[in-house]
């Protein structure tokens, strides 16, 4: 009797994540364990955790090395903040906040990211609203352009911008202006894609209700549509900031001199030559500033979507 039971597992709906059934005789052998359809997915779980370790541990080690007391960037040699703020006893010129070069690059990074964020997101949001409501073939063409700038490898944008500013639009000098124009061009598609997806899931009903109740078109957009779009706009701000502060591909060709190179370009240049933990500190700083913006974003997101359920999942939904 017990034999037949173990041969044919009872037909029973297994809930997601439910505990495995008590091991029957056949699951004690390795082959039986392998064949048991109700066993936990140990192998997949191991792969996932190994992937996560592989993906995040190197970065944690690199962060730790930025607080190292030695000159080596290969091993941690005791705790110190000398690569951040300098140290009176050792040579302080290489530290992130002390070195004039790195300090200027840091300011340039922040300036470019904030400016890009505040130019690209409003343009992108307005564009997404416009093409979602505007009918005819023209918006499809404009959207095509946007998507094209999204999928094209970034180096192509960098090269074409460099050639553009060098041979046609010569009054835009290489430097902050050229960097900003190309960063906005590359980033503007993010808010468009995120906000457009949200526009399509909202539908037109709310605006129509508003106009039926006597709101003007502008009031309907400002008082009804925009508040509904706030979560998507917020996610766009965070993503554009995170992507811009790390960007070095377009910016590197358009720097026009080492004085306008942001931190990301400096990291790239140093990574190919002599590395000190100060470069780790610079990379950690980029990560930290992104995290600050992300935390502010999550905080505001929770405030805006207060009372709604599944916030984390929904926020991730904007990303996928």
């Amino acid at each position: 009797m017990s034999e037949t039971v173990s041969e044919r597992p009872p037909v029973e709906r297994r809930k997601e994540g439910a505990a495995p059934r008590a091991p029957s005789a056949s699951t004690r052998t390795p082959l039986g364990w392998w064949r048991n359809p109700w066993r936990k997915p140990y192998i997949l779980g191991a792969v996932t955790w190994m992937y996560l370790a592989w993906s995040l541990l190197p970065v944690l080690i690199a962060i730790a090395i930025s607080f190292s007391a030695g000159r080596s960037n290969a091993a941690w040699q005791g705790f110190s903040t000398q690569w951040w703020w300098g140290h009176p006893k050792s040579d302080p010129t290489g530290a992130l906040f002390v070195s004039p070069e790195l300090h200027a690059a840091l300011i340039q990074s922040l300036r470019l990211s904030f400016l890009t964020m505040f130019i690209a997101v409003p343009i992108g949001v307005a564009f997404a609203i416009g093409i979602s409501r505007w009918r005819g073939p023209a918006p499809a063409g404009a959207n095509f352009l946007m998507l094209f700038s999204f999928v094209i490898p970034e180096i192509i944008i960098g090269i074409s911008m460099f050639l553009f500013f060098t041979y046609l639009l010569k009054f835009v000098h290489l430097g902050t202006g050229a960097q900003l124009l190309s960063l906005v061009t590359y980033q503007v598609s993010y808010p468009v894609i995120i906000v457009r997806a949200r526009m399509l899931s909202i539908g037109r009903e709310y605006e129509e209700a508003a106009t039926d109740l006597g709101a003007s078109p502008t009031q309907a957009v400002r008082r009804v549509l925009l508040p509904l779009l706030y979560p998507a706009i917020l996610v766009s701000f965070v993503l554009v900031f995170a992507d811009t502060i790390d960007d070095f591909i377009t910016v590197r060709y358009l720097s026009g001199g080492s004085s306008t190179e942001p931190l990301s370009v400096k990291i790239y240049n140093y990574s190919r030559g002599t590395l000190t933990p100060a470069i780790n500190a610079a990379a950690t700083f980029l990560l930290f500033s992104t995290l600050v913006i992300a935390v502010i974003g999550v905080f505001l997101y929770r405030r805006i979507t207060r009372g709604q359920r599944g916030q984390t999942q929904e926020m991730a939904g904007h990303l996928t």
Partner: protein, 308 residues
Amino acid sequence: MRVLPRRRSREQAEGTWYPRWYWPGFALPGTLWMLVLFVLPFYVVVSIAFGTVDPVFQSPLPIYEPWWWTNRYLLEEWHFATGEFRAVELRTLVYVVLATAICLVIAYAVAYYVARFGGKRKGLFLALLIAPFFISYLMRMLSWVELLQPNGYVNDVLSFLHITPHPINWLAGVPFTVVMGLVYGYIPYMILPLYGFLDRIDQRHLEAGRDLGANPFWTFVRVTLPLSKPAILASLVIVTLPMFGDYYTNNLLSGSPKTTMFGNLLDNAMEATGQGPEAAVLVLFLVVFLMIPMLYYMRETAKAQRNQ
């Protein structure tokens, strides 16, 4: 909700609510921006590719009128592309295909596990999977540069386990390092869309497969895999497109001519002075080569937007 479409069409017929220019006005700044700063620069690239070079300074002289275009540089670069650069192109293809295949296997397993068995930990998993998006690509590469140095931690571990007698210089043009770097760099961009799709698969399809007698393996092969085909294709394109233009992973993790990829050709042409036409022609080649996957991905994105 169901009655609304009829009302909408009536209002549209009246057409009194919104001025004609109202919605186009919203899209105008973005459209103008893209025309001036995306289309026009690309036209400059084409004009330089079909243009000539200053005989003295060797700087490109773009020709903006299509009827004066010359195809001298195009032919020259085509000659290189089919001769001297063939090895580089083949290598790029091999690296990208290998890296994408490895990406897909790992990414699918991870996305599948988190989507189906994440359970209560789903939020944590998602946060950890999204984390690489907020860590700069440079930092992620930098950390591997440091780990893989001759005196780095990877060699420490290998010699501690007596796998290698002496430290390996992983950063001196080892193809394995470059492919691993590509996988490491781009896999997050694959996991998230795959997860987003697998998470939306209706569990009842899988239950039906099991009820009809398929074991977990065959349920996966006959139900889950066919269902996720569009997501697999889209995520493959997401990671291969940037890989073809990638020069930085290679430069940081190898920098040796033994592992040069197509992106490096572009970057080298940009760094050398007076090579504007070369860079422009190589850009054209890359765009033409990537046109089909790019159009495919754009169509899928537009479709996904409409179906949401």
